[in-house]
């Protein structure tokens, strides 16, 4: 019973971490794609 509970909890935490990682990645993609700053050195120099 205890092992099952730990297993369920671990699965839930892992799933939450994965969801968080994907959501963060999507937001990072959104700002990278929406913005157009040019950095020193620039892309391709």
């Amino acid at each position: 019973m205890k092992a099952k509970l730990v297993s369920l909890l671990t699965q839930k935490i892992n799933r939450q971490y994965i969801q968080l990682a994907f959501a963060l990645l999507a937001l990072a993609i959104l700002v990278l794609g929406a913005g157009a700053p040019m950095e020193g050195g620039g892309i391709g120099f």
Binding site: A28, A34, F45
Partner: protein
């Protein structure tokens, strides 16, 4: 990089605020995640992957940028209920407007570009041509449409890291910062702030 720093700063500030208030940080629920990834593919190929960006002609790169930004606008619209998303959408619309008005790239003046790379490099480039493999095009201010929305702002000279950014970029950075910070503010406090 500067926009990712705004994202990181917003997230860390939200986490710190939630921790200080002894509350858990509620990460926002994002709808249509797949759309963000799909929307970014054209930009990934045209501007970021060294293998592909050197092979894609400018006209296709411009079309990729516009298509990608329109799809990202749809993604932002599906998440418009999130705090800060309207600010972010405003920035995206401003950038998209100036990009469309200037043949599919973000304009930057030679004078601004000289703060980013050596003057000799800028002088060797054609005005009207792309600035490296990035999203920018080198244009004289008098030849630029919507010049106020172009990459014309710079960090103070004392910063080692130099970047040119637009008004739209400021909106985008502010929007993502507020979006992620606000998740750390407890609901009760949010209600109180609404009353002010």
């Amino acid at each position: 990089m500067i926009l990712l720093l705004a994202l990181l700063a917003g997230w860390l500030s939200g986490l710190a605020y939630a921790c200080w208030q002894k509350q858990s940080y509620q990460f926002p629920t994002i709808n249509g995640l797949w759309l963000a990834f799909v929307a970014f593919v054209p930009q990934l190929l045209a501007f970021y992957l060294p293998v592909t960006r050197t092979r894609i002609p400018d006209i296709l790169a411009a079309a990729s940028l516009i298509t990608s930004q329109i799809l990202l606008l749809v993604f932002a619209w599906t998440n418009r209920k999130l705090a800060g998303m309207w600010l972010l959408m405003g920035g995206l619309v401003l950038n998209l407007a100036v990009i469309v008005a200037n043949s599919g790239f973000m304009p930057i003046s030679p004078q601004t570009a000289e703060h980013l790379v050596p003057a000799s490099v800028v002088q060797s480039m054609d005005v009207g041509g792309r600035f490296g493999f990035g999203k920018d095009v080198l244009l004289l201010p008098e030849d630029t449409h919507l010049v106020l929305l172009s990459d014309r702002f710079l960090l103070p000279d004392r910063f080692h890291y130099q970047v040119a950014f637009s008004l739209g970029d400021i909106f985008i950075a502010s929007g993502i910062f507020w979006l992620l910070l606000r998740q750390g503010i407890p609901l009760r406090l949010r209600e109180r702030l609404k009353c002010l």
